[in-house]
């Protein structure tokens, strides 16, 4: 866990105060559609602006959770964090859809102590121990994030939502995406449909073109969004909600983020 904070601190130092937008967070599977159980899929996890080039910083994966088709947690193997990427292997023991997610809460605090700016970032449970009661001009924000990818063995199976933060609920299964076809997803915030949410969709390979060519979509009143894939390849989904509905006690501001990596196949 110490490592986790260390990396967070480093990441924080790298950005200007007040404008700390992290690099794009993504998990990239070596394969999303697998014929049968018994094989392995490898994942890279990184924070980098270039999709999907691990050329910036490794994603800390302390909050990694892999959910098997039956809802049970699966322990990833060969977990390693290098300089610019984390990676891990997943053994696929049963047929169906696996959800691979780095998700959880953290708290970011800024205050002044004897006229000097201070900041701290960590788990909500450790807030009290790290923020002095005498902190002046204290600003606390909850960061609620979910970064995920999906892998299916055989036929796709249902994905359950957790009711926490921003989530994607498949209408079109995330492992059933094809060029020229419209995929429909429902977005939830705290388990309820998230209307009017901006969802950006960016194709991988951003290094090889001049503009990100993001497709900017908005969810309808039921939280639904429809995207027609212009080309095959891996895509990155990005959604953000900033509100005052923090779920951590004594915190008001919340910043919920959602990112998914989706693979679109040719016809």
């Amino acid at each position: 866990m110490k490592n986790f904070y260390g990396k967070l601190a480093l990441a924080l130092m790298a950005c200007a105060p007040g404008a700390c937008l992290a690099a794009r967070a993504w998990i990239l599977p070596s394969q999303t559609i697998v014929a049968r159980a018994g094989g392995w899929v490898t994942f890279d996890a990184a924070n980098s602006d270039d999709l999907f080039s691990f050329n910036q910083a490794a994603m800390p994966i302390d909050q990694l959770r892999v959910t098997a088709p039956d809802g049970q947690a699966v322990t990833p193997q060969n977990v390693a964090t290098a300089k610019t990427r984390s990676s891990f292997d997943l053994e696929l023991r049963t047929a169906g859809t696996y959800r691979v997610a780095v998700a959880g809460d953290s708290v970011m605090a800024r205050w002044e102590e004897e006229g000097k700016p201070k900041r701290w970032r960590g788990l909500p449970a450790e807030m009290a121990a790290n923020i002095p009661a005498t902190a002046a001009k204290l600003e606390v924000e909850q960061a609620q994030r979910r970064v995920e990818a999906f892998v299916t063995v055989g036929a796709p199976t249902e994905l359950k939502s957790s009711g926490v933060g921003i989530e994607l609920v498949p209408h079109t299964h995330p492992n059933d995406l094809y060029v020229g076809e419209a995929a429909k997803f429902r977005f939830l915030l705290d388990g309820k449909p998230a209307p009017n949410l901006t969802v950006e969709v960016i194709a991988g390979g951003t290094r090889y073109r001049d503009s990100p060519q993001a497709m900017v979509l908005k969810t309808d009143k039921d939280g639904m969004v429809s995207v027609t894939w212009p080309a095959s390849g891996f895509y990155w989904l990005d959604a953000l909600v900033e509100d005052e509905k923090a779920t951590v006690p004594n915190v008001r501001k919340r910043r919920a983020t959602y990112n998914a990596t989706l693979e679109v196949l040719p016809q």
């Binding site: 559609i33 697998v34 014929a35 049968r36 094989g39 055989g154 036929a155 059933d176 094809y178 196949l265 040719p266 016809q267």
Partner: protein, 170 residues
């Protein structure tokens, strides 16, 4: 020799015609000879597709049987998504070994599985082929069921498939 072959062909044709009432669907399929350094026989899936693009009948699936190579079946992308993924291979009478370069003839009796249960309507015959370190190609031939008149429809594959012809005998 030529005369003999012709005679033989006439005999076969007569024999086929003699089986009156036995409607069938036959398929002539060419796996082309490709001038490549590394050649592997293609995986091939042949099926009858409904207007909703679901699989109405699986006709043949050829993949490498020696060793466990079912891992590559999803490379038959359309077949896999349309229903290949719901199948537990091998399937008796459906799956088989990959076939060599050349002409292949497949014949399916309209009154026997899997065509016996095909509801009347418009369908498409799909032949999809994918080759290791090669490409993928799918060709489609629309037809109506049940067979009302003799018909032959041919399409020409461009990369992984040669000529593909569907013959319907009422």
């Amino acid at each position: 020799m030529i005369r003999l072959s012709r005679a033989l062909l006439a005999l076969i044709a007569a024999a086929a015609a003699g089986g009156a009432g036995a409607a069938d669907l036959s398929l002539n399929l060419e796996i082309p000879n490709l001038p490549v350094a590394e050649y592997h026989r293609p995986y091939v899936a042949i099926w009858v597709e409904s207007p909703e693009q679901t699989i109405a009948a699986n006709l043949a699936v050829w993949y490498q049987l020696r060793g466990d190579h079912t891992k590559w079946l999803p490379d038959l992308r359309q077949w896999w998504r349309r229903g290949g993924r719901d199948l537990k291979v091998p399937v008796d009478g459906l799956t088989g070994a990959t076939r060599p370069v050349g002409q292949h003839i497949l014949k399916f009796d309209a009154a026997a599985p899997p065509l016996a249960t095909l509801a009347p309507g418009k369908y498409t015959l799909v032949v999809e082929a994918v080759r290791e370190v090669g490409g993928r190609e799918a060709v489609r031939i629309p037809f109506e069921w049940p067979i009302k008149a003799a018909r032959r429809e041919a399409v020409q594959g461009t990369t992984e498939l040669g000529a593909v012809a569907l013959t319907l005998n009422p």
